[in-house]
């Protein structure tokens, strides 16, 4: 797929513990995936599945109480977990840009938009304010904000949600990053605005070769935007696949069930398949397959063993032992 075989970002065996009372060792368990230069990878799953924790670990921004217990995160060949904080800071906001869900709470309300974008360049590239502001103006143009010159002096609250998210993206790409990590960047936005933002990210990928790691729960956005998918459930990666095969022939009962739960165009007012039970709370993960209690194909004796990731002949990876050796064959066909 790529000229260079070395991936841009390689997360390998990442394990995160939730410490303290009611903690969960292995809140995120043995997560591995790669992002190559210029590609777009989706990290999907329901709330509580550990996708944001994984993204935060990549940025080195785990909240208090969460601790990386194992694994490695290699970016451009460098292990970020072994990096001193100073070096990490130069990566974060520099070579890795970040966009979060709520633009309003991610932007400093007391700082002019121009200065916020310029700040990244001044910090990481040591540019003078004037030079950095000129670049900020270009960036605002780049992300499609009309009247860029005027908007430089605006405060975040003077902009609409869509415009704020564009400003976030402008500051994320301010230092010409190789990778943009976007955590639910469009969840708080209207669908027509979402379409614009996705269009913008698509342009950035095409024109600047920026890779995107998109954390989302919206399968429509995944189908629209991503090349490959990493599906997580209860802290573990259950399936890794390219997007076409994930939607066409899922390799894990959980992804199959997620696709089935989407309301289908052709059959309105019919009962939708549901996933029984609830996502287990941290501290109460089953010891065997973490999805087993809710799985339509559960109850098998092999489901009670801890599951390991297996790579299928066609390159997909699944964490279902029964799918891996052909014991269980899931239905084909996408959401519709």
């Amino acid at each position: 797929m790529n000229a260079t075989h070395e991936p841009l970002l390689a997360v390998d065996g990442l394990t995160i513990d939730l410490t303290g009372p009611g903690g969960q060792p292995g809140l995120v368990q043995d997560v591995s995936f790669e992002v190559h230069a210029g590609e777009s990878v989706a990290l999907i799953g329901e709330s509580g599945c550990g996708k944001t924790m994984t993204a935060m670990a990549v940025l080195g921004l785990l909240p208090a109480g969460f601790r990386v217990a194992g694994g490695s995160i290699r970016f451009q060949g460098r292990d970020l977990l072994a990096c001193p904080e100073r070096e990490l800071r130069s990566v974060r906001g520099g070579a890795i840009g970040a966009v979060f869900q709520e633009p309003m709470s991610s932007l400093d309300p007391t700082m002019r938009v121009g200065d916020q974008i310029a700040e990244a360049r001044r910090l990481h590239l040591g540019e003078a304010r004037k030079v950095a502001l000129r670049r900020a103006r270009e960036l605002l143009d780049r992300v499609g904000i009309p009247n860029a010159e005027k908007r430089l002096a605006a405060y975040p609250h003077e902009l609409s949600g869509g415009m704020q998210q564009r400003v976030m993206i402008a500051s994320a790409i301010a230092c010409d990053p190789q990778l943009v990590l976007a955590d639910e960047p469009t969840t708080a936005l209207d669908v027509t605005i979402q379409a614009e933002i996705l269009e913008l990210l698509r342009d950035l990928r095409r024109e600047q070769g920026i890779a995107v790691l998109l954390v989302t729960h919206d399968l429509g956005v995944v189908a629209d935007f991503c090349d490959r998918v990493v599906a997580m459930y209860a802290g573990a990666v259950v399936e890794r696949s390219d997007v076409d095969r994930l939607f066409g022939r899922p390799a894990h009962p959980y992804t199959r069930a997620l696709l089935d739960a989407i309301p289908q165009n052709g059959r309105p007012r019919t009962v939708l398949p549901v996933i029984r039970g609830r996502v287990p709370a941290a501290g109460q993960f089953p010891t065997g397959c973490r999805f087993e209690p809710r799985c339509a194909h559960g109850g098998h004796e092999r489901c009670l063993q801890p599951q390991h990731e297996a790579v299928l002949p066609d390159g997909r990876a699944t964490r279902c032992a029964r799918v891996a050796d052909g014991d269980l064959v899931l239905a084909e066909g996408g959401a519709r």
């Binding site: 939730l18 709330s47 599945c49 924790m53």
Partner: protein, 296 residues
């Protein structure tokens, strides 16, 4: 941040006791500071009830040979200027020390809470009028205002404490009104209207319990403040009248004779400080526990 940390928030069922939520009291008692403060106040209540039986002497029995007696086995906390047993007087005064704040905070609650709930939920003209009244009361210096009321209705403990209650009421009104305004915006209030709850049901059943946390915090702080004010006013001779004693009036006399018996200010002084501290500590703990409980 997104909902990834949700497991911690939506983990209601503890392994041992499914389905039962821990009561607020129990949560409170898990905090050492709250347990100590609550225990101390409970001890005061017990002592107040048992005072007639456990006090070694009649609190008003004079024994001039024991005047200004130092701490001893006979008079644990010494004797006062008339030779009355300080320990006995202190024990008997607990009743007043607890009753006086209860009266004033009770008056403040009666005046401040219903009006605050009403103003916070309905806004509009009622709110404007009530808020102006509260602002006016708040702008007067509290103790001076209480003194003015006492000047009109005459001295005496009950009068003083009721006057203090009037002084405290705008504070409670403000707290309740602010909290009720926030609660009124909550979807569950709309939901109550949608099922057809009357305004008074919404006020008492749905708004009041949800403003209980700040209300209780403020009330406990006011309890401490009332005790202090009572001591102050009795110190000035406006509160409790002789021969009854309160901690404040005991401080007063101890202060008068501070050169002859410097140790005499300690028992009532420490009693006041500890009790006020207990009220405030309890208030802080209630705030912490309740705000943690009802945060989603």
């Amino acid at each position: 941040m997104t909902t990834q940390t949700a497991p911690a928030g939506t983990r209601p069922v503890t392994a041992g006791d499914p389905g039962r939520r821990t009561s607020t009291i129990r949560l409170l008692l898990r905090r050492p500071s709250a347990a100590v403060a609550g225990g101390f106040l409970l001890l005061l209540v017990v002592l107040a009830v048992l005072a007639p039986w456990i006090a070694p002497y009649d609190p008003n029995e004079q024994d001039l040979s024991a005047a200004f007696a130092p701490y001893s086995a006979e008079h644990l906390l010494g004797g006062d200027e008339l030779g009355r047993d300080v320990a006995s007087r202190l024990l008997h005064a607990i009743r007043l020390a607890l009753l006086a704040p209860l009266i004033s905070v009770g008056v403040a609650i009666v005046l401040g809470v219903p009006s605050g709930l009403w103003a916070g939920l309905r806004r509009g003209l009622a709110d404007t009028v009530l808020s102006r009244i509260a602002d006016t009361l708040l702008s007067l210096p509290g103790l001076a205002f209480a003194l003015a009321i006492v000047a009109v209705v005459g001295p005496g403990l009950v009068n003083v404490m009721v006057a203090l209650g009037v002084v405290f009421s705008p504070t409670l009104f403000r707290v309740v009104r602010g909290a009720a305004m926030a609660v009124a915006e909550e979807p569950y209030i709309d939901s109550s209207r949608a099922i057809g709850c009357s305004t008074s049901r919404i006020l008492w059943v749905h708004v009041l319990p949800n403003v209980a946390a700040p209300l209780l915090v403020q009330a406990t702080i006011l309890m401490g403040l009332a005790l202090l004010s009572e001591a102050g006013l009795s110190f000035l001779g406006l509160g409790v009248q002789p021969p009854d004693s309160s901690w404040g009036s005991m401080l007063r006399t101890a202060y008068d004779y501070q050169f002859r018996a410097p140790f005499a200010v300690l028992p009532p002084g420490i009693a006041v400080v500890l009790t006020v501290l207990a009220f405030n500590t309890l208030g802080d703990a209630i705030r912490d526990v309740m705000s943690a409980r009802w945060r989603r």
